[in-house]
Structure formats: C-alpha cells, structure tokens
Amino acid sequence: MPLIRRSAADTGFDHPWPSEITPAAVYARRRDWLRQAGAAGAALVLPALPALAGGQAASSARPGKLAALPAQRSGVAGAVVMERPTAYADVTGYNNFYEFGTDKSDPARYGARLKPRPWTVQVDGEVLKPATFDLDTLLKLAPMEERTYRMRCVEGWSMVIPWLGWSLSALLRRVEPTGNAKYVEFTSLADPQQMPGVASRVLDWPYTEGLRLDEAMHPLTLLAFGLYGEVLPNQNGAPLRLVLPWKYGFKGAKSLVRIRLVARPPQTSWMRSAPGEYGFFANVNPTVDHPRWSQATERRIGEDGLFARKRPTLMFNGYEAQVGQLYAGLDLQKNF
C-alpha cells in the first residue's frame, strides 16, 4: 500500500499551499550538495582519478573543443529553463541529422566533412529587401544570447541544451516582410560532397521546414550559432540552425542556406515523407500520439535511469505560457 496515493490525473504539480513550494531554482539544485559531497569524497578516496570526481559537476562549463562564442544571458521570457543541461558528449554524440546518416551516432562520425566556413544564407521571397548574408554579418546582426531550452525529440527522448544565438525575428525584420508574407520556409544544405547521408533516399533533399510567420517572429524562435559557449559543432547543424523549444526537434532545420518568406504553407520534408505521422505544426503535445508510439512521456538523456519511470511530457514542452496564445482556437488534434 503506497503511503501517498496518486490519482491518474495527478501529474505531481498540484499543491494547495503555494508558500510551501520550493523555488524552482532551489529545487533544480537539490542534488548539488550530494554531487559535491560525492565529488569531495571521491577526491579524498580516489586522488588518482580527479577527472572522475569532477566529471559531472562541470557539465555546463565550456568544453574547450571549438571557438568560443561570447554571449549574454537572455532576457527573453522562458529562455532559461532551470534544469540541468544534458552532458556535452550526449548533446553532440546522440542526435538526428539525416544528411550524415540515419543512425544517431552518424552526425558525430561524419560531421567533420562539413565546411561551415565560408557560409552564406539567402533570405528572400515576400520581402522588400531580399539579401544574401554571410556568416560574419549574421554573427554580428544582433547581440548573442545564451538560452537554455528543453529539446523534445519526436522519438520520445529529451535534453536540456544551452544554445547561443538570437531571435530569428531580428533577421526577418531586417529584410522587411511584405503583406503577402504569411509563412517562412527554411532550407538546409544538401551537398553530397560534404554530407554522405544525402546519397540515400531517406528523405527528399534538401531538408525543408516551415513556420507560420507569427511563430517565426516569436521571441523564443532562436537562430542558433552555438552551444555550450562555443560555435555549433558540425553535427548539431553548423554554422547556424533553427531551434524551436516548444516543437519537436525535427522542426529545427540545421545548416541553413535559405530562408524564404512565402504566402502559402510550405511543404516540409517530413510531411512529404510521412504525412500521416508528421504535421506542419509538430508542437510538443502529450495528448496527441505518434501513430507508432505514445507522446505522453519522455526519457531525459543522461538523467533518467534505465528502470526509472519516464517523465511526463509537458504541453508545448513546458512553454505553454509563452506560446499557447499562438494556437488559440486551433484544433491541436487535427493540426498536429
């Protein structure tokens, strides 16, 4: 007989006395003393293994692998989530980037073939000032911000990633969208010379994604140039990519070469490939299952133990307060 009875609807967040709720920042750090105590103990017992003792505590420090990308902490509402960032090794070693292969270790294995410099991005379509921006111009177009976002993959796993970048709206305003601009289409690089996965017919290349203009203009919509204090590793979509924390990860098109403002909803690669499984919006939604698995729960990479119960997936990945109003009145069961 369990001491605490929980109803099926109890997600663990209801609390009758707000004054007793532990502040989120304190809660997120609840195991730090344990970790520090463990590290101190290990340092005493295992003086020969300092790397082991310090390995976990320094998880969000700069890994020192790539060029530093200085940034300030973002002031955008919801941009810094109080959860422990996923280890750099997992963020950069376990991800999907089909241009390099369909296995989640392929991007890290073959990413070195990508040349992220020189790089240009064409921004055109329904705009008054179409332009082709080179990477150095983009890096200085707006102040670089650090944002720690949850990342929920459609496959049922999640991470917490400290990105560097700025709101896409800064770039869109620069090119001045016309009244006809209602959607934005994003195109990734598809160069078989640099990307071995492009040779296979897994998807219709180049990879394209799309957003409604109001989604693209939302301050949380991030044009990312780096993570963990450094420029983007090739496998994570160097030199620039889209990050949409309230949508499934595949919406975040990587290694962008073109951003086009359009009047009609753009076709996306996944909608062409499997229209029954992937919709245009792809908002994280625990109540709309993927045809082949449930989206109600997720496994946090590197944190949830093998035999731990999976954690509940949050509506809009926990960003409902920030983005919920974008979808007011929209039937989310139909528009998945």
Partner: protein, 218 residues
C-alpha cells in the same frame, strides 16, 4: 562441395565442444549488454539500445534457426540437427528480453499501459502476437513433449514458426516504414523469403515420394 570437406565440417559440428560453444555464443549479446551497462557503455539512450538490440537479435537468431534444416538437407550438414533446438530457444530468449525491455523500460511494467499501447498500435500488436506464438513452440521443445504429442502433430505445431517469422518481419518493416530504411530491412526479408522457399521446395520433394517412405499411417 567435396564430400571429404563435408565430412570434416560435420565432424567439426559434432565435436564435443561445438554445442557448448554455440550455447555460449547465444549468450554473447546479453553478456555484452550487461557488461556495457556496468561500464556506462550502452550509449546516450540505454533503453533504446536494449530495445533495438534485443529485437534485432531475435530476428537474427530466428533466421539462423530456420536455416538449419535447409543446410542439413541441401548441404548435407546432418550434424547441425541438434543445434536447431538451441537456436530456437535462444530466439525465444531474445524475444522475451525484447518484450521485457518494452514492457519494463518503455511501459514501466504497468500491465494496463501495455494493454492500452498494444490496442492502439497495430505494429506493436503484431510483434506481441509473434512473441505469444513462440511460447507454445518453446514450451514443447523438450524430447518428452515431442513423444507425447507425436512427431507429426509436433511438426505441424512447429510449422507455426513460419507464420511467426512473417509477423516478426512485418513488425520490423512497420517500425521502419516511415523512415524508408529499406537497407535495414531487406537482408532479413530476403533471408526469410529464401528460407520459406527452401522449406516449400523441400516439402514438395518429400511429398512426391511414395507415402510409405515418408510416414507411417497411424
């Protein structure tokens, strides 16, 4: 193949150490996961590694099990006959691990969640049906069961394995379908198709023999 080479191969398969080695080899992947798990070497998503790995090994062992009879008949490797049960039981073992990985790691060992999931997802239900189908085969794998059922009834029951193989393959193709991963699927599909054809040809050949030679009427 030269008959001399055949004799040597048969002798090798009959070697005292051959069968224990096969059993050890069948435990190989499991031991590998346990070792990797203790070293943190199951990757960023250990649950996914185990779920996929156990499913793939079920399919691989099933292919090996079904290859025994054609190899025995066509290649004359009669010594392989006693490996079939071992491989069949290993197939069942990995299918059980696969189901456990799903029910435990994915569904949190909640029977209601498993039932709900299976009723919603035909691809999972097909896999589950294949697993359930293996149970009577594993349960009647001992010599006593063959004696009690009678060879003919036992054989009829164990032909179920071809339907199970079909379901298992469908489960795998379905899982992979949306990602257009034909490269992963076709080696297994081709192997199983060839083995099924071999089985049919073998049956035709034995059926065309005079009945008195193949079976006694009860």
């Amino acid at each position: 193949m030269a008959p001399l080479r055949l004799v040597a191969l048969n002798r090798l398969a009959l070697h005292r150490a051959a069968h224990p080695l096969l059993i050890l080899a069948c435990f190989g992947p499991l031991v590998g996961w346990i070792w990797a798990g203790s070293q943190g070497g199951l990757g960023a998503n250990p649950a996914e590694t185990l779920l996929k790995g156990s499913g793939l090994w079920t399919l691989r062992l099933l292919c090996l099990t079904l290859a025994i009879t054609p190899l025995r008949v066509w290649a004359g490797l009669s010594a392989l006959a006693r490996w079939r049960r071992t491989l069949g039981l290993a197939t069942f073992g990995y299918a059980t691990l696969h189901f456990l990985a799903y029910a435990w790691l994915d569904m949190g060992f909640d029977p209601a969640a498993v039932v709900r999931d299976l009723s919603k997802r035909p691809f999972a239900l097909v896999g589950f049906a294949a697993f359930v189908g293996l149970i009577p085969l594993a349960a009647t794998s001992w010599n006593g069961a063959i004696r009690r059922l009678g060879a003919r009834r036992w054989q009829a029951l164990h032909r179920l394995v071809y339907a199970i193989a079909g379901l298992g393959l469908l489960h795998f193709i379905w899982m992979r379908a949306a990602k257009h991963r034909a490269d992963e699927v076709w080696p297994y599909a081709l192997t199983l198709a060839l083995l099924a054809v071999a089985r049919l040809l073998h049956r035709q050949r034995t059926n065309s023999r005079p009945a008195a030679l193949t079976a006694r009427t009860p």
